[in-house]
């Protein structure tokens, strides 16, 4: 449930190696805001006769109250339980009958929803999406809350409690953040809080955070923008504006001053080491540098940690390094799964040695260029699909949420292209102090 490590997307010229430059890609869009505050972004692409309707509500688990963790995600499930003019079950039934699919996800800072459908189903998709934005609670009852509460508890069992290493992320967050910090609790929530959530909580959350002024809507794909605009204006005309704008988030800032260590046991056979640092928020200085650092450490066979631990010494089964970019601050994490008889202390010492080297000496030109070239190519790849999670529709909303500009693709890529090898070293030295971080080891249960 970490947000995407690198919310790249996009574009442009193919980079050197050989000095050739590829064609420039255009991602044209238009945007406008309805009187009720809903921001709308339209993007045309006729590759296949499909469209996506993608809605972001700018609220996630970070806004939850004490004793109600997991609520934003439970609420996401409730959005599929029917609304005033859409009886329970019809949301999915009507869409599938039209050849559509849908999904949603909740993170710390946002909740996103998409409907992918053939392009003849635009009105149906907007009818469903607008009805739940306007009239969700008219159809809500304590019984519907209970039904999804059980589903969400099973999601927690499946993805956390019954999954190998599944509880690690929950432990780490509690070590990283002080009490009251919005990233301290898991998006999936604590079991007892899921039990405690009430119907009244649903109504309150809906009125506060699911107002149109706290949302943005993308329609992308096989559309006529003028028709799509008219359809949006029609279907969202009766969505009432919120009573009061969502206030800025207020929270105790996190700051690590030492190394915090913990060992937990799980029903696994391979031990695993997690090293985690608090790092700059998405798009802040240092964020792009740490994405590049991740490729230098753990992207491909020649990356430094992979090469030493997995390829040469063969004391690790896998290694990952990721800058988990978020709105308030990010988390940088290095994860190493050990081979069955390998020594975690030795692995940690080697990780530190490699991080220290990159804190002192700039990476070589070729390895740096290799990382930048991979990032540039990943921008192409993210433009292929319009719908679904991480499709172009979702990316337009992500950039609007994070940068205030759906067309931030170019600026985002420019962040990476502007970097030099020395910038990576400076960021590694500044943001990954070896004496201020969280270390969690998962050991096999006896």
């Amino acid at each position: 449930m970490l947000s995407c490590a690198v919310l790249l997307a996009l574009q442009l010229q193919a980079p050197p190696p050989a000095a050739a430059s590829g064609p420039r890609l255009e991602i044209p869009f238009t945007q406008f805001t309805l009187a009720n505050g809903l921001h709308v972004i339209l993007h045309e692409d006729h590759t296949v006769p499909l469209l996506t309707v993608n809605v972001w509500y700018h609220v996630g688990s970070a806004r939850e109250k004490p004793g109600r963790t997991g609520f934003a995600h439970l609420f996401e499930h409730l959005m599929f339980m029917g609304s005033k003019h859409v009886k329970y079950g019809d949301f999915d039934q009507l869409l599938e009958a039209a050849g559509g699919t849908n999904n949603a996800s909740t993170a710390e800072d946002r909740t996103n929803y998409y409907i992918d459908a053939p392009s003849n189903a635009l009105d149906l998709a907007l009818f469903l999406e607008s009805d739940r934005m306007a009239y969700l609670v008219d159809a809500m009852s304590p019984k519907t809350v209970d039904a999804q509460r059980d589903v969400v508890k099973n999601e927690r069992r499946e993805s956390y409690e019954n999954a190998p290493y599944g509880m690690a992320s929950i432990e780490i967050a509690e070590m990283l953040y002080p009490k009251g910090h919005p990233y301290r609790w898991p998006t999936i929530g604590y079991m007892e809080d899921l039990t405690a959530a009430t119907y009244e909580d649903v109504v309150d959350f809906f009125r506060t955070y699911y107002q149109p002024g706290n949302a943005s809507l993308v329609i992308a794909g096989d559309i006529d923008p003028a028709q799509a605009r008219a359809a949006v204006e029609k279907w969202f005309a009766d969505v009432k504006p919120g009573a009061a704008p969502v206030p800025p988030i207020d929270y105790p800032h996190a700051n690590l001053t030492e190394v915090k260590t913990k060992t937990i046991h799980d029903r696994v056979q391979l031990p695993r080491l997690y090293l985690t640092w608090l790092t700059p928020a998405h798009l802040e200085p240092g964020d792009a540098e740490l994405d590049v650092l991740s490729l230098l450490l753990a992207g491909g066979k020649n990356s430094r940690l992979y090469k030493r631990l997995v390829y040469e010494l063969q004391i690790a089964q896998d290694v990952a390094a990721v800058q988990g970019s978020k709105a308030l601050n990010s988390e940088y994490q290095i994860v190493v799964t050990a081979r069955p008889d390998a020594d975690i202390a030795r692995i940690r010492a080697i990780v530190d040695e490699e991080v220290r080297k990159l804190q002192q000496d700039a990476p070589g030109d070729r390895e740096f260029r290799r990382a930048i070239n991979q990032i540039e190519s990943s921008f192409y790849d993210r433009l292929e699909r319009v719908g679904g999670f991480d499709g172009v529709g979702d990316e337009l909303n992500a950039y609007y949420a994070d940068a205030g500009n759906p067309g931030y693709f170019n600026e985002d890529l420019a962040r990476y292209r502007a970097l030099s090898p020395a910038d990576i070293t400076a960021a590694a030295a500044r943001f990954l102090p070896l004496n201020r971080r969280v270390e969690l080891v998962v050991e096999p249960a006896k």
Binding site: A14, S21, G22, L34, V151, N154, S377
Partner: protein
């Protein structure tokens, strides 16, 4: 700049409000959906290189990138009896040294181009895929050709990959979801049938595989006459085929393909319950089913519609029953895994531990109810859902290449995707019932459960589904 910018003016907003006020939406019923748009697929250009390698080129011009997918007709059926995993390990080893490059050099060269090269061995085919910006295609193709035609299979790399697989097999025992995925086919197909063991092999079989085995397997199976190369992306046949000829033309191994196959498995004859203990597990991972059908089944479309109703779509009966109505699971589904030979059919879910018997009863209720004629509205919904999935496949270069490679592997006709929607729509309720009667026989299914034995065994036994055998996790990995 790509952004056209916003014309976000208060005047326009006011105008929106007025327009909106004049046209309040009619919410009394869901808006009608007109006829579905037609999917127009770009033409597939078919060529053959001088060495006999078939090439399929299809234009996808949105992004200046191309996805190349080589599919070789080989798979687990070509594994020698004591060397399960050889086919898959050979595929994995292709890029661990090729031509004049070491494993590290192959990886460095590919990544420096901003390209992605992957090799994988599946049940019915091995794949080498290259995703690359068009501007880098000419630089990347020789590396791909080396990986396909001139892998070097170094000893040290084999040892490393083998050890990784042995550790991966241990990891699979830790994860109830993975464990049931291995246990179910073992208990349905048995240890003697190739589908009864993991594609990646077993600890015992992997230890017998030497580089000589890889070289012999490659020489016998990786042949231009036994493969197809699909190119999907911002290219045309005229621009890419000369590059392919240059890169692949010299790939002319002397061998002729030796067809491999997996013999049909014997269908189960009685229901049997298998329980694998995971003390303290929060959920029971369950799979229920038997031997399904081969991909060549004449009942393909009837079975796809049947399974959409039963357990494929979100609104399918299994998901609706176990997730929405009862809240026993986060999701439930079913699947016919169709291969060159008959693969498994199964229904499954992760069920909260204390509801395991209740959930099993619901599974069998649905596996029984599917034999009644499917109501018309439910049938139409499933058919539309299925028919309109096709355009999604062709949205990306990779999806497009996969679709063409799949059609080649299974010998599907040239008009397969363009006639797909019509063939789905032609399925009747009678067809679905006939397929259900023939292929869904719950009284012969195996029931495989990975869960907390102490809590669930009494309730499961009380259901009287059939004889119950407790299995050790390690047993299904032998």
């Amino acid at each position: 700049m790509t952004a056209r910018g916003s014309f976000l003016l208060s005047g326009l907003c006011a105008l929106s409000a007025i327009v909106g006020a004049q046209q309040l939406p009619d919410r009394s019923k869901a808006p009608a959906v007109g006829p579905p748009p037609a999917l127009k697929l770009p033409a597939v250009e078919r060529r053959t290189l001088s060495n006999g390698l078939q090439v399929l080129v299809i234009g996808v011009h949105k992004v200046p990138a191309v996805h190349l997918e080589l599919a070789v007709r080989t798979g687990v059926g070509a594994d020698p009896p004591s060397k399960a995993g050889l086919s898959s390990l050979t595929a994995d080893m292709l890029d661990e040294g090729a031509g004049s490059r070491s494993a590290l050099e192959v990886s460095d060269a590919v990544e420096f181009l901003g390209a992605d090269l992957s090799t994988s061995g599946g049940v019915d085919a091995a794949f080498v895929q290259l995703h690359v910006p068009v501007a880098r295609l000419a630089d990347a193709l020789p590396i791909m050709a080396d990986v396909i035609a001139r892998p070097t299979f170094p000893d040290a790399e084999l040892k490393r990959l083998r050890d990784e697989r042995l550790a991966a097999l241990l990891e699979m025992q830790d994860d109830p979801e993975q464990l049931v995925r291995v246990a179910f086919p073992r208990l349905v197909f048995g240890s003697q049938h190739r589908y009864g063991s993991p594609e990646i092999g077993t600890a015992a079989s992997l230890k017998t595989i030497e580089t000589a085995d890889l070289k012999a397997f490659h020489a016998a199976q990786y042949l231009p006459s036994n493969a197809v190369l699909v190119a999907a992306g911002d290219v045309t046949a005229d621009t890419i085929v000369p590059l392919l000829e240059q890169a692949f033309g010299s790939w002319k191994p002397p061998a002729t393909p030796k067809p491999s196959s997996v013999p049909p498995a014997r269908q189960l004859t009685a229901r049997h319950v298998y329980l694998i203990d995971k003390p303290g597990a929060a959920q029971s991972q369950v799979r229920i089913g038997g031997i399904g059908v081969p991909r060549s089944t004449p009942d393909y479309f009837a079975l796809r519609v049947l399974n959409t109703v039963l357990g494929e779509a979100f609104t399918s009966r299994l998901n609706n029953n176990l997730r929405e109505v009862h809240g026993y699971a986060y999701g439930a589904s079913s699947r016919f895994d169709m291969r060159l030979s008959a693969g498994p059919f199964f229904a499954g879910a992760g069920i909260q531990t204390d509801k395991t018997p209740e959930a099993l009863r619901e599974f069998f209720n649905e596996l029984t109810r599917i034999h009644e004629p499917v109501p018309l509205a439910e049938l139409e919904k499933a058919k539309n859902y299925l028919a309109l999935l096709v355009p999604r496949t062709f949205e990306t270069t990779r999806g497009t290449a996969d679709a063409l490679a799949t059609a080649w592997i299974y010998g599907l006709p040239g008009d397969y995707y363009t006639t797909y929607a019509d063939r789905v729509r032609a399925v009747t309720a009678a067809d679905v019932k006939r397929a259900a009667d023939k292929y869904i026989q719950p009284d012969r299914f195996a029931v495989v459960i990975v869960g907390d034995r102490k809590t669930i065994e009494p309730g499961v036994r009380a259901l009287n589904l059939g004889p119950l055998t407790v299995i050790e996790p390690a047993e299904v990995f032998k």
